[in-house]
Amino acid sequence: MYQYNDNDQTLIEQRVAQFRRQTESYLKGDISDDQFRALRLMNGLYIQTHAPMLRIAGPYGLFNAKQFRKLAHIARTYDKNYCHFTTRQNVQFNWPQLERVPDILEELASVQMHAIQTSGNCLRNTSSDHLAGICVDEIEDPRPYCEIIRQWTTLHPEFAYLPRKFKIAVSGAKHDRAATQFHDIGLHLVTNDAGEIGFKVLVGGGLGRTPIIGQVIRPYLEKKHLLSYLEAILRIYNLFGRRDNKYKARIKILVKESGLEKFAELVENEWLLIRDNLELDAGRIDAIKAQFAPPAYEANAAQDASFTEHLADNKAFATWIKYNTAEHKIVGYRAVFVSLKAPDSPPGDMTDTQLDAVADLADRYSFGEIRSTHRQNLILADVKQADLFPLWQQLDALKLATPNNGTATDIICCPGLDFCSLANAGTIGISKEINDALDDLDYLHDIGDVKINMSGCMNGCAHQSVGHIGVLGVDKKGAEWYQLTLGGSSENEAAIGERLGPSIAKDQVTQAITTILAVYLKQRLDDESFLDTVKRVGITPFKEQVYADH
């Protein structure tokens, strides 16, 4: 994991001092609400329904144990003993006091953390594959490039007042686990015909009100040109992106309205003028790569026999292994999903006690590192097989071992009307209802891979349009109603979900979802997945049943 040098540390400390001064100026009345809004958003601070919300960056989803202990401390000292993990691998506190935010930022800076550009119309935190560096289908580890992009985007002077927010995701594997096709820029590490590794560059993807799948603007970009190409895209967007209507201001609209060909021509022309002055030299890439060197894996980890014994003896453990762990490129190791989707807890939430405990478990079992995933769970990435059983027992005691990873109760859920001032409808309550309705684990596991994504408004923080089942809260004459979609996906075969029919009332959402799942079980052929069944039979059989009584 990347460790700050003196310059990195100085920069975030100076940013804290700057934000402290900005906050004090605002509280004294020297700067207006409107001006402070722009300044605070660029530092992750929203004003929400009940209190400010502070969003802290999880750079491409990487944390260490010390940072988790600091989050626990902040939750206890400045908040109500919990925090929330988001779909872009960040962390949110829902109850800080405005006056104390500079103190929180100072605490974060002491462990190499910050809230820089986690909101606002600027270059946001770069996200990536949660299995980076350990997955079996990897072409190259994307994290060094994420860090290079993190540094380049941080306090970039030219691109701090973009038409709208701007998100970059990087994937280094064959299977896209970072939803790169739904980012303003998606980068894929790919191998060209000469066997060299570079980037395929996608542009203009996005979710929200107008979900659009990103298009390939350059099939292959040499690594040394990474930053110049990003700069060219950003300059064209900054100059020509729409600023007259915030709902049409994302780069996806510029790409769509100009056409990919015209947009690409502008970018390529700009790039030719700057690329020789902004080359990444191989030495810099290597130095950053060295910071992501593999940990000291034990050579004989696979020789442990206890793991297979526990698997045979303990059905609950075997189930957890099946659902909540993933294959690791090193034999004898697995990646462990720490489920933040316990039935009685809001999706993605974590208490201070859990944060501290996971920090300890990371230290003991996974080289002191923790990752966050875009489905709002955590990962301990490097656990040797002998440690899986004791780790499971301890996670279970902490209510962090619900074996539901990738199933219908592993719901992506925004905070909804309970917390967010943008929301039209609640989400956490429905998530709880769905959990209650699907409390039979065997049934849940029989259904298998179903991704339910639920957002409380059109802004789509929970990526409902790419959920296998999407749930979108809408306001209908002051009441909470919900629009369902089927068949979305943010993975390789990216798709935007199709609307099932008219929106339904809040008390019918859970029933509709259980109906959809029942239709799937009736329609599926052999071990066909939910998504494949929806693709094959279309939405009509689902629609007929869900709206049968209407």
Binding site: L11, Q18, S25, A38, Q151, L155, E158, A160, L239, R243
Partner: protein, 150 residues
């Protein structure tokens, strides 16, 4: 009226000339449209000439004329209009403009630092009492991840 120029608070010597107004003696700024219309006449003026540019204007159109202009004024209609930052960058980095680039209009004191990093060297704020605070923001950071344009 005072402005920040080259990291100092100084008196401003330039006169704003509206599109329909008579040209004045001394250093004057005029709009891009007027520059294009009256270029020949302006080149004969006894003072220096500066051109005012808004976010929607194209800096490229001025490229050939930059040698004749002592000032480019970048006018923020709203502080959030970030096109100004790219205009400044293009003037310095692409066209190697050596004259004064001045930010004016509805910019915030807290934007002065980023503007200075893309090549703006003069700042006219709505409230002149904000100038000392704006000047001090130039020292907010001693380190950076990107090259600055000076």
């Amino acid at each position: 009226m005072q402005i920040i120029k080259d990291k100092q608070i100084v008196d401003d010597s330039w006169h704003y000339v509206a599109d329909e107004a008579e040209l004045e003696n001394g250093n004057i700024t005029i709009s891009l449209a007027r520059w294009k219309k009256d270029r020949a006449q302006l080149l004969k003026a006894n003072g220096k000439v500066g051109v005012r540019i808004g976010p929607a204007d194209s800096v490229d159109e001025l490229a050939a004329d930059l040698k004749d202009l002592a000032l480019i004024e970048l006018d923020f209609p709203a502080f959030a209009d970030g096109r100004i930052f790219s205009h400044a960058w293009l003037l310095r980095a692409r066209y190697h403009y050596q004259g004064e680039i001045r930010a004016t209009g509805k910019l915030m004191a807290d934007q002065v630092y980023y503007l200075s990093r893309v090549g703006v060297n003069a700042f006219n704020l709505e409230k002149s009492e904000d100038l000392p605070a704006a000047l001090s923001t130039l020292n907010d950071f001693s380190v950076n991840y990107q090259k600055s344009i000076c």
